[in-house]
């Protein structure tokens, strides 16, 4: 996959994907800082990794299974830190149009 260069216009799109509201000053500052970081990291593309498998997990753990039964927090406790609850459910603003 060919890469296109990171720039400030792309940052607005990324911030939308990440669900973070940024001020114009933040867009300018983070845009410049992230561009520098990405430019530095770009050298990784030059490394020949043909026939190299990716590593996602370092200690070669095999599948780990648990019994399929709840063994942790009761619902009342699990929801106790939520900002708003109703009968052990977490109340959220509407996510679809009314």
């Amino acid at each position: 996959m060919a890469k296109s260069k990171f720039d400030i216009s792309l940052l607005r799109h990324i911030a939308d994907l990440a669900r973070i509201k940024l001020s114009p000053t933040e867009i300018d500052t983070y845009g410049r800082q992230i561009e520098q970081v990405v430019d530095h990291i770009d050298r990784i593309a030059k490394i020949d990794t043909k026939n190299v498998d990716p590593t996602f997990q370092v200690i070669d753990t095999k599948n780990v299974f648990n019994q399929n039964k709840p063994n942790h927090l009761p619902v009342e406790l699990a929801t106790s830190t939520a900002r708003s609850t109703y009968k052990n459910f977490i109340v959220v603003p509407a996510s679809i149009e009314k």
Binding site: A2, I14, A18, I20, I44, V58, I59, L73, A82
Partner: protein
């Protein structure tokens, strides 16, 4: 009169049993010292005086009744504020979790409580452990106890500063890219980043799930062995914790003979060092050589790529892990909105610190459509190369020795507005996390400004027993770990 705040874990337990002092006396001594010193050092976000005194009393009651005492009885622990501590505020160094009181505790903290350790407070950290100086904390910057104008290192800077200042018996930290070893080095304390999976990650706010390694700061290797003996082991709540048997670290402390021990010096770790750091490390090498260890020059050519792999993969994992901070289930929340998506945007925009936003944005970019293969997948392949390179060299040596950091502590403010420079400071610690290996940070002297220098011993997977044994013997013939700042 003995100084109660300058005792080791084993000495404290023995003294309690001999009734030389009580757990309450000890706890009060630490609390008094915190009151005196911490306004300057700023190691703690929360001091848990009430809980500490209650726990101390419970231990004293046990002693009075002749009941069995835990292995860490009376030792006061400072806990990095990313460990969930039931009923005690856990902020992760972020305004996002200001006021958050967890309903349960992290596994390894609970294991230490079960051994009668006492929690003395929650320590400052860069926000969600993202940083190398504590300057990214959403609360304040911790000062280096050797020189208050300098950073203590990070992200577990509060824990390292508390440890060297005798504000606790031992401290807990986490090391995702050097966050135990580098502050241990900058503050002059002993710290261990265990093999990935040796200690459970359960109940610790996640940064990068395939890198995060919880561990401890102590005054010496013997105390580290005592703490690790209790914290290590499989945890059903963390499927990535290892089922490999936990060795008897304490009884193995004298196991490894320095005579004939093959110590590898990776040449890339000796490039671009401050002259004083280079000299102190060379002096340590000479100490091992005097003990008839065999010094073997080795090469890890992909060392510099460690930073690149790390700063691709870690932000990717961060951007996924941080999705949980939605303002609904826990933590701070923006004023209620009509629309769910607006609530996400406003909560995250308002309460996340700059470094938190930066890393989420970088990770989201690398994972976004069209960039995934070029960055995430490519970095995961280079991760394999780095891992293989370590394995090739470990066929020739028993362990590796290197500086923890190319520099000693830098002035507060010097790198805070230059994230790239801050990231590059991790060059000698991140490759170890990329590979998931264990590494022990040991004090090995001071630079011309009187700031501590640290060396790291890097081991193969699950050889913490070997590292602690070699570190212990180094500390038997040197006294760098006993030096304390004047406070």
């Amino acid at each position: 009169m003995i100084d109660l705040t300058n005792l080791t874990i084993q000495k404290i337990r023995a003294s309690l049993l001999e009734k030389k002092f009580s757990a309450t006396d000890l706890t009060k001594a630490y609390l008094a010292r915190i009151k005196l010193i911490d306004p300057t050092i700023k190691a703690f976000i929360t001091v848990t005086d009430k809980q500490a005194l209650l726990q101390a009393k419970a231990i004293d009651d046990k002693i009075a009744k002749g009941q069995k005492l835990g292995k860490l009885a009376g030792s006061c622990m400072a806990v990095k504020d990313i460990y969930l501590t039931k009923d005690i505020q856990t902020t992760a160094g972020s305004q996002l979790l200001n006021g958050f009181i967890p309903q349960y505790s992290s596994t390894i903290y609970q294991k230490l409580l079960d051994q009668d350790a006492i929690i003395i407070g929650k320590t400052n950290t860069d926000t969600f452990a993202f940083g190398a100086s504590t300057e990214n904390s959403g609360f304040f910057t911790t000062k280096n106890p050797w020189n208050a104008a300098m950073v203590p290192g990070g992200s577990s800077g509060g824990s390292a500063a508390a440890q060297i200042s005798n504000l606790c018996t031992f401290a807990l930290g986490t090391d995702t890219g050097g966050s135990i070893r580098q502050p241990a080095s900058f503050c002059g304390v002993t710290g261990l980043k265990p093999t990935y999976g040796r200690n459970s990650r359960y109940g610790i706010t996640a940064m990068a799930s395939s890198f995060d390694a919880p561990g401890a700061f102590t005054s010496d290797c013997q105390d580290l062995a005592t703490v690790l003996s209790q914290t290590a082991g499989f945890d059903p709540f963390d499927a990535t914790s290892s089922q490999i048997k936990v060795p008897d670290y304490i009884n193995l402390l004298d196991k490894v003979s320095l005579k004939g021990l093959r110590i590898g010096l990776p040449k890339q770790y000796f490039e671009g060092l401050e002259p004083d750091v280079k000299t102190r490390i060379q002096e340590s090498v000479n100490i091992f050589e005097k003990q008839a260890a065999k010094i073997v020059p080795i090469s890890l050519p992909n060392t510099n790529l460690g930073i690149d792999v790390y700063y691709v993969l870690v932000p990717c994992e961060i951007s996924a892990n941080m999705a949980r901070y939605d303002g609904l289930r826990f933590g701070q929340s923006a004023k209620y909105e009509d629309n769910l998506v607006d609530l996400y945007f406003k909560t995250r925009g308002k309460f996340m610190e700059p470094e938190l936003k930066r890393r989420i944005l970088i990770g989201t970019y690398f994972l976004s459509s069209g960039y995934y293969d070029a960055y995430y997948l490519q970095a995961s392949r280079v991760r394999t190369l780095i891992k293989q390179e370590f394995q090739t060299e470990f066929a020739k040596v028993d362990l590796m020795l290197a500086p923890v950091s190319p520099t000693t502590a830098w002035p507060i403010g010097q790198k805070v507005n230059d994230p790239l420079q801050m990231y590059l400071a991790d060059v000698l610690t991140v490759p170890i996390n990329v590979a998931g290996l264990p590494a022990l940070s040991l004090p090995c002297g001071f630079d011309s400004q009187g700031l501590p220098v640290g060396l790291q011993l890097i081991g193969n997977y699950f050889t913490e027993d070997k590292l602690l044994s070699v570190g212990h013997q180094f500390q038997q013939i040197t006294n760098f770990h006993l030096k304390k700042p004047k406070l």
